[in-house]
């Protein structure tokens, strides 16, 4: 059986900048995979390709053997910046998605469905608030609830916790973990935090830094679930995984660094003496160019 989600030899460039080159990736049904990389290494481009918001220049992306050509509600996305519509309440934001995905349901069924997912992310008291009245963590929960309420085949999380503070982050990680245990969706999580990836995922794959980013080797996370954050920190397997992943990423970045060649053009200009009076008509004298200076007397 071919994998659930498959990317084969995918390349994407924006103008002269090649972001992804010959990228291969596959995801089994019900699997939770984390892709870890430095910021700016093309993570968001990668997930936009999976979502269908972008099309690859080369290569193919298939979900259930069908090529992905456009975004659709079968892939729920949680964006880093929440992407909630600020003029709608929490309920209405999720209802818009539910209404769109299940047009044949009765109003009562849709409402119950929305309320169920609001409760799932513990937001029932804030159901009638607008996103502007919520904290970042709460907004991200709404976003997660909206994605899940669409009952997607695949859940794409694009640095969902990137903009949150460390404590809120930990709480939401616990919640995502809990929700995943109950829903068993296929998930691709994009993150810049290896710990987050190891804590949540079955498999963790480093994304080599761009330009021309590809995926590194996949590290299986063989930690039993449910995972306890406290005990995890002392687990030797956790420590080894963490060291391997971070080690891989930093060495990949170092290699990348060695290849950088730049020609620096220094400004050809000299400091101006502002204490000299300006000419009467206000015409400014041209700044002095370094290459025009013939003799320089420096008083020490």
């Amino acid at each position: 059986m071919s994998p659930f989600l498959q990317l084969q030899n995918v390349s994407k460039r924006f103008g002269a900048l090649e972001v992804l080159r010959d990228l291969n990736f596959s995801l089994a049904r019900g699997e939770f995979v984390a892709i870890v990389g430095f910021s700016g290494s093309g993570k968001t481009t990668l997930i936009s390709l999976m979502a269908g918001l972008l099309r690859p220049d080369h290569g193919s992306i298939t979900l259930n053997d069908l090529p992905i050509t456009e975004p659709g509600p079968d892939r729920g996305i949680v964006f880093q910046n929440y992407s909630l519509l600020p003029w709608l309440t929490v309920f209405e934001n999720i209802f818009l998605a539910v209404d769109q995905c299940f047009p044949n349901w009765s109003l009562a069924k849709k409402t119950a469905h929305v309320e169920q997912y609001v409760a799932l992310v513990n937001l029932s008291p804030a159901c009638d608030k607008r996103p502007g009245e919520l904290s970042g963590g709460m907004r991200q929960r709404v976003s997660v609830a909206r994605a899940l309420a669409m009952d997607p085949l695949l859940l794409l999380l694009d640095e969902p916790l990137g903009a949150l503070d460390a404590l809120t982050r930990a709480t939401l990680q616990d919640e995502i973990s809990r929700i995943w245990e109950t829903q068993k969706k296929s998930v691709v999580l994009i993150t810049n935090d290896p710990d987050e990836g190891i804590y949540l995922a079955d498999r963790i794959i480093p994304l080599n830094p761009g330009p021309g980013a590809t995926l590194g080797p996949s590290f299986a996370v063989d930690l039993p679930r449910p995972r306890e954050r406290q005990s995890l920190n002392h687990d030797p397997r956790f420590k080894r995984l963490r060291r391997d992943v971070i080690g891989y990423l930093t060495s990949a970045q170092r290699q990348q660094r060695a290849e950088v060649h730049r020609t620096l053009v220094l400004p050809d200009i000299e400091p101006e003496d502002l204490s000299n009076p300006r000419p009467l008509l206000g015409g400014r004298r041209r700044p002095i160019r370094r290459r025009e200076i013939k003799h320089e007397n420096i008083a020490v």
Binding site: P71, G72, I77, F79, L85, W87, L96, Q100
Partner: protein
């Protein structure tokens, strides 16, 4: 942290918002009096202005003749005409703004024309409006005035709507794409609400212009209204009533702007 600091600051008198504007008003009144006594003897003094226009202010809804009516009655005529022209401006301007914002082709094609037509004065449009509706007979002056108001007041709405549509965050559009909203649904559930704050800024500016134009339109067509009254009193050498008209026009404009900014704020928070 801030409360002990702020209590040490010198106390600002609470009636500031009342006393200072009244003071400013008195200064302006004094200047007016001074000018009327010195350099412009023909300019009626504040007291004379009040004496001569008392009838129009104290009996604001009287109708003694076609061009001899209470000031609020005149204002009402003007407001009705403005409302009609303004409505046309919004109904025409908003869709054009959306098209400009949504379509690069449309924007490339029509933006230059809009930029050329936008700075044209109402005084220049009015004769054209009258020519356009020559065939309408008695209605010509009203239709011409409406045309002028609409075409002058339209631009802020057009441009602000276009800017609003262009500055809709990509996130909102991504939401629409992921949910596969239909075109109409995207327009009414995403584009329109996201643009509303910009649109209302445009609406407010448009209303200001519509009110500016009405005076010019009435002066040239001689229709009963604040502007028509002003022009008639100028021709009748009743200078004090010109000042009455100016003050009325200013106050009404101010009130309209305040009302619109209230509506605008209501949508800003949304």
């Amino acid at each position: 942290m801030s409360s002990p600091n702020s209590s040490k600051l010198p106390k600002v008198p609470k009636l500031d918002w009342l006393i200072l504007p009244v003071l400013g008003f008195l200064v302006a009144l004094g200047l007016w009096q001074l000018i009327s006594m010195t350099i412009a003897q023909e300019l009626p003094s504040p007291a004379k202005t009040w004496r001569e226009s008392r009838d129009y202010v104290l009996k604001p809804f009287d109708k003694r003749g076609e061009m001899d009516q209470g000031i609020l009655r005149f204002t009402w005529y003007s407001l009705v005409l403005v409302a009609k022209g303004y409505a046309i401006a919004l109904l025409v301007g908003t869709p054009i703004g959306f098209l400009l914002g949504l379509s690069k082709t449309f924007s490339r094609a029509f933006d230059p024309i809009i930029q050329v037509l936008r700075p044209v004065s109402p005084l220049a449009w009015l004769p054209l409006g009258l020519v356009l509706f020559l065939g309408a007979g008695k209605q010509a002056s009203e239709l011409g005035a409406l045309f002028t108001i609409a075409i002058c007041a339209m631009w802020p709405t057009v441009l602000n709507t276009a800017v609003g549509v262009r500055s809709i965050p990509q996130d909102y559009l991504n939401v629409a794409r992921v949910l596969k909203l239909s075109r109409t649904k995207t327009l009414f559930r995403v584009l329109l609400p996201a643009t509303l704050p910009y649109m209302f800024t445009g609406f407010r500016l448009s209303l200001g212009i519509a009110w500016l134009v009405i005076v010019a339109a009435e002066m040239l067509t001689g229709r009963p209204g604040v502007g028509g009254f002003l022009w008639q009193e100028y021709n009748a050498l009743n200078y004090s009533r010109i000042i009455l008209c100016i003050l009325t026009i200013g106050s009404v404009g101010f009130v309209l702007d305040r009302l619109m900014s209230l509506v605008e704020r209501r949508f800003k928070t949304a």
